[in-house]
Symmetry: C2
Amino acid sequence: MKERPSGIDRPTIIDVAEVADVSRQTVSRVLSDHPRVAPATRRRVKEAIEKLGYRPNRMARALVTRTSLTFGFAAVDMRNSHFGDTCSGMQAAAREHGYYLVVTELDFNDDRGMGTLETLLTLGVDGVAFFPSFLEDTEIELFAATSGCPVVMIGRESKIPNVVSIAIDETRAADLIVDHLVDTRKRHIGILMNEMFPDIVHERFVALQRAVANRTEVARSPVVADHPKISHGRDAATRLLQKHPDVDAVVGFNDTMAMGALLACHDLGLRVPEDVAVVGYDGSPFGVITNPPLTTIVQDSIGMADAAFKALLSCVEEGTPSEGEVLLWQPELLVRGST
Amino acid sequence: MKERPSGIDRPTIIDVAEVADVSRQTVSRVLSDHPRVAPATRRRVKEAIEKLGYRPNRMARALVTRTSLTFGFAAVDMRNSHFGDTCSGMQAAAREHGYYLVVTELDFNDDRGMGTLETLLTLGVDGVAFFPSFLEDTEIELFAATSGCPVVMIGRESKIPNVVSIAIDETRAADLIVDHLVDTRKRHIGILMNEMFPDIVHERFVALQRAVANRTEVARSPVVADHPKISHGRDAATRLLQKHPDVDAVVGFNDTMAMGALLACHDLGLRVPEDVAVVGYDGSPFGVITNPPLTTIVQDSIGMADAAFKALLSCVEEGTPSEGEVLLWQPELLVRGST
DNA sequence: CACCCTAGAGTGAACGTTCACATGGTGTCA
DNA sequence: TGACACCATGTGAACGTTCACTCTAGGGTG
């Protein structure tokens, strides 16, 4: 039991072996529930483990088994409801299967997030799930090729070799929103874009523009971009509504921005939904407490998280599909008072 | 370059050494910026690293250095604003100092969270920060004693040997709330307790009861407990207000429950704040979008997270204080429309 | 010119595990 | 009674690093 820098020492498998008067391999067998251990020996070993407060060192184990039972998860901002839910969902799925999750927030300044992903790999994870955010598909392809482990990308629908991608059907989501708005006699849809998550945003934007062009006589929606915070959404929506007084519906790229839009309408004396309808994305639980409650696109974050974990697990067990698999999820429109 | 179970292999320091035609120790020296490496050699090694896409294996390194540069963080529910902010804050502080954070959600079913903490240790973290939630002080003391690494407890003010605890001054928070309510002519304060986080809840409850007894003629506030969700807060507040019609102010133990209380008032046709005032804890960003906006106790989650990280770091560098240190933070009352 | 010093590089051991294989003892059956 | 199977356990090597040494060649000093 040598000293650690921090002070206190921890017993090793050899300490346990000495106390139980067996070899380290026998202790190892007890630890992994190997059948060929005599009951009496097993009991002795367990007592020694208990007595010493022994905890196996998973890093040493990982070194020889080449498997850490740990997956990495990375997203830009864990406080964002969708990312947080996905993280929680992966946690739950991981724990259920005896896996652990190392969570890290992507740092734009660290090579646009690539550095963060790289360091995740050095931690010895068996797989990585992440929201690609600032990265190009070619960068992700290179990362996956050299990572030596399965890679799952969440939130962007791209067929990248060696990468499983999980995303919602943005076309469907856009159609749901625009159909609903047009059905409620709205014609001039303004867009409140999120400048922080270009990955999700791009597809969402294209899908919305196409849906708008299909269903209204307006060729191109007015757009404003800002940070995904309530206050920024409020400012952005104010700019949008002042510059384009004919806008009668605002779509925020997440619920936080849409909530900002609600406040902006209030500030400007516009009635929601009579003068301006507001729609968000994410299905945040706080959508019920706004005034009026927020209509929003609900995406099954937990289900997607579960799928992400399952994808990593099956890649570990059966190998990564070299083709680039895409799992598409169907969104739903939760209609509340804001439309 | 042997095969991993998942398929692809990763180059090791020996592969790099071979390509650069040096020994592994020289590569190691380049990696750690050791001064005594000839410039030409250094360049050759760096080229080899680049060419092979080599990433050092931090587990192997941790095994020999007995330091993983990784801290563990655990909380019950990462989606809760206060926990999420603390997590984000620790992430940021950790990254700034070259550390990593392994995040895990505490599982009540796993020995009331102790099992989750134990497994965190097997991952080889250099320290653990956590919200103690369901654990007794004696359990935490035992855990700290046998963990072999610094332990920081967030959210409960307890002097436990070998443990640094970081919490807000609950007495002060309770005084702020009760003083403010009494100043606005409220006399019958009802409490909406959170049954999920008994650690925080107990101190908060005691502090509030004492403040109420000090400032009003009511000896004991009526209390209802439920889950920390908006819908549960709504139900609980409805029960509270129906059973105690004289209640003219409701204090929720977090913002989510307080938001539920706002909805309950709305359901019951009570005006906020004229008939019933509502106060929450946490300073959630969503407090601005409620109707009316929520008065709440703001705790400096980021500052506390920073302090938690710094505490772990200084324990690693200078040793854990055996006395049990308590860092107390001063809360502020953010007065908005709900009072 | 003998001496020592130092910069630059290499070697064996160790970290705490598990894997593959070896060993010895016991029981079974022809 | 011998051959063989099989059960329980032990041993050496390996995983990918770093640490504490050692070694070598060259240069400066007296």
